[in-house]
């Protein structure tokens, strides 16, 4: 069994409180400090965070619930968050709920049992019922990427409407009029926003929206393949297509390859996320890039704020919208 503070107390002849105070930055006589440190060294003592958590009612652990770890956008955000959280002494328990509302709810209950100090969630259930019980416990919740109705809490979002607007304007500015879109699931917040941006850009340019140019996908690779095939087949006059997330962008590229379509001669394309993938495409893909690292750091910061200034929360809900950026490649043709 691992050494405990009692062992150190015995070995040094000091009381438990002194040892504890040593670990918690209290004042300890120089002589005793040295004795304690020797004992720690010899006994290979490591603080038991479990016991500490039971006593202090704070586990220094935060739970992260996401729809799909196996999704670059999620993975990148988690990498960034985990990095800053751990450097502040917080552990991160990641739960992948596979885009399933039932699993998402179970994940939250799982985290409640483990008494995490806070939850970071990229929500699948847009009603937010899965979070209500946790919120009632007075512990902080930070939402990433998607807002939900039933829950008032902090969130870190991306300006998705503007992102899509920018992309479509980019096409329009280069002479395109028949612009298709491979959108996301209609019930997902980001998908709605991106679709709204598509509408807005077309409307403000006086281009009528045509239903046949709109494909509602599901944010998966296979959905992207399918979407591209359908759009191409139904719209011989389409000269450009905007794909609204990374997985579908990959799918659209697969579709393009399998149909033997040449980019940008036969079809112009703007994708989403993952600059490296864009560079690996031939020709290099023009994309909308999200500030994943910025999101990650912002989320961690907001969460740490709650945790370290417990009590004195300003009452105001934090809600930031980060900006995206278009990274130009060679996949958009300039029409005469």
């Amino acid at each position: 069994m691992a050494a405990t503070m009692k062992d150190i107390a015995r070995r040094t002849g000091l009381g438990l409180a002194t040892i504890s105070s040593y670990f918690n930055g209290g004042n300890v006589r120089e002589k005793n400090r040295i004795k304690i440190e020797e004992a720690i060294e010899e006994l290979h003592y490591e603080v038991n965070e479990v016991a500490r958590g039971l006593k202090t009612n704070a586990t220094r652990t935060i739970g992260v619930v996401i729809p799909e770890l196996n999704n670059t956008f999620c993975a990148e955000i988690i990498t960034g968050m985990e990095d800053v959280l751990r450097s502040h002494g917080y552990a991160t328990i990641v739960c992948d709920c596979r885009t399933d509302k039932k699993l998402e709810r179970e994940a939250v209950e799982f985290l409640i049992r483990r008494r995490v100090d806070g939850i970071i969630n990229m929500p699948v259930d847009e009603e937010g019922n899965h979070l209500k019980r946790f919120q009632k416990m007075g512990k902080p919740i930070v939402l990433i990427d998607r807002k939900i109705q039933g829950i008032d809490c902090d969130s870190v979002l991306v300006d998705n409407k503007k992102a899509a607007e920018d992309a479509v304007r980019y096409f329009i500015g280069r002479g395109h009029r028949n612009i298709g879109i491979i959108g996301g699931p209609e019930e997902v917040f980001t998908a709605q926003e991106r679709m709204a941006g598509y509408y807005k850009a077309l409307e403000s340019a006086g281009i009528p929206v045509r239903e046949s140019l709109i494909w509602h996908g599901d944010y998966t690779i296979q959905g992207g393949v399918r979407g591209l095939e359908e759009l191409v087949q139904n719209n011989p006059e389409m000269t450009a297509v905007f794909v609204t997330n990374y997985e579908m962008t990959m799918g659209a590229m697969i579709g393009v390859n399998e149909l033997g379509i040449r980019i940008p001669e036969q079809l112009s394309m703007i994708g989403f996320d993952n600059l490296q993938f864009a560079r690996a495409c031939n020709p290099k893909l023009t994309i909308v890039a999200q500030p994943t690292d910025g999101i990650a750091r912002e989320v961690a910061k907001v969460m740490l704020n709650h945790l370290e200034n417990a009590g004195e929360t300003s009452g105001e809900l934090f809600s930031e919208k980060l900006e995206t950026e278009i990274i130009a490649g060679k996949s958009v043709r300039v029409l005469a």
Copy 2:
């Protein structure tokens, strides 16, 4: 504050032990069972796993230390593992050590403080010193993908030598003689094995190994770009190149695009991992595919075996080598 078992005891008039026994599958009179369940419902009781962990000296938490979450191979394995571990009631704390030995050691200490029941590690430090203390505590360690010297423990590997051998043979069988390789860091186990496979395939075909055709990369995207550029520049006669991990494969594709090289007319290529990426390449890339999901499930299984049959471990070290597979695309030209 959250409800405790004491609250349930008070509310039902039962003793603590009865409640505890209810939660641990003991026998409880039907009438009392109902009373307990009503109380749970009304009090919104959730077991406190922290207290339970302190008492039982088992946190039902396992730590995972990997070099880079932001790496598809790692992310896929973690997704799979976390899935099966959580369905058995185990939480997973993931620590990304950014391929840094110091951070890796710190991650293990962090996990020791949190008293995880086991550690799963894709090791960066090939001497394994970071794991020694944990191992002395008698808790299980499972290594993924890389073996290390100093530590005797279970491991789940891939037959990397054969993987590389197969790839190079694939080239040879199609008439290639001047075959380049973009290898990994020389100190990394998988990189050594893959390099060994390259040598073996060439030697058994009677083709002399030429140093100029070998590039030692670092398993990063940028390393792949650089490797491809160097190999192409130094070997005008090279007709084929084998890239030995996913990130470098992506990098090599970027390099190919930026140099304007046509595949497979000017250069044949076999990459590594990520079938979807391979399909998105133009032309579709031939790759060596690792059974990531198989690895993930195997690792979780081995770990659960240790945890659930504590004590009666067979003493034998488990070490499985899974097989890879070549998925043919159109990136390898048949030479006359």
